[in-house]
């Protein structure tokens, strides 16, 4: 586990990572193909920071053409099925957040025309929270949200 101290440093060196994300992740995590993995956004503990780091503060409009499917009540917060579906044309990416999780960003998904813009996952929810999906389609950003009441489980914090 030699790598632990280095990973701890990602928080401290966060600003440097903006300047050279490729060199940064490449040096820390050899053999990881995801040189573009957005560590700044994943490490953010506030939803607004995660959004800002991922989308640069660009305007985001609410849309009903983007939907989240999830149970209204999750009895086990460790395994909550979540689906994201985008009905907007030319969607090329989306991100999924859980507002109340210690680090809200759960996933960023890059789509291509080879797949239907519809993905299902299972995520950990620490507590009752809003799920937020932000999608990019034709260069514009769109948002939708859905709340999930969590009655048990969670991220296993304690």
């Amino acid at each position: 586990m030699k790598r632990r101290p280095l990973l701890v440093n990602t928080g401290l060196l966060g600003l440097g990572a903006i300047a050279s994300p490729l060199a940064f992740t490449g040096a820390l995590i050899p053999r990881t193909a995801g040189a573009s993995w957005p560590s700044e956004a994943f490490d953010a503990s506030a939803l607004s920071d995660a959004e800002q780091r991922l989308f640069d503060g660009r305007p985001i409009q609410d849309s009903t053409e983007l939907s989240i499917s999830a149970p209204d009540i999750a009895e086990n917060g460790r395994v909550v099925p979540v689906g994201v579906r985008i009905a907007l044309p030319n969607a090329n990416q989306f991100a999924l957040f859980a507002a109340k999780n210690p680090t809200p960003l759960l996933a960023r998904v890059h789509l291509t025309p080879a797949v239907a813009p519809e993905v299902a996952l299972r995520v950990k929810l620490d507590e009752t929270t809003e799920l937020i999906a932000i999608a990019e389609a034709d260069g514009q950003l769109y948002r939708t949200s859905r709340s999930v009441k969590v009655t048990g489980g969670g991220c296993g914090g304690g």
Binding site: I29, S36, W37, L105, V119
Partner: protein
């Protein structure tokens, strides 16, 4: 890594491949304590998942430790035919990788 990397199921219907994946991975958040030692279990999670259709990248996912343990992923590949190859390759934060592949029938 154990040989059992998980499961992939790909079903072809009307030119669309319905792909469902179960990966085997602990997805540790770094905030969970070992029940015996009381020590925090270090973060350990799949960072990147690449889904390919006949060797071409169809979708790429960046994940956090907030994805559930033994991750599930379902997606649909368009313009798919019998004999096409679907593969899903993941890489975790320790540089470990695994690939799950299926041929459409």
């Amino acid at each position: 890594m154990p040989e059992d990397n998980g499961k992939i199921r790909a079903r072809l219907r009307d030119g669309v491949a319905d792909v469902k994946i179960l990966m085997r991975h602990p997805m540790e958040t770094g905030r969970r304590k070992d029940p015996e030692s009381g020590e925090l279990i270090p973060k350990h999670y799949i960072r990147e998942v690449i889904c390919e259709h006949n060797g071409q990248v169809a979708m790429r996912l960046d994940w956090s430790w907030g994805i559930s343990a033994d991750p599930y992923l379902a997606f649909k590949v368009k313009d798919a035919q019998v004999g096409d190859a679907i593969s899903v390759r993941w890489t975790d934060d320790q540089g470990q990788t695994a690939t799950l592949s299926a041929q459409l029938s």
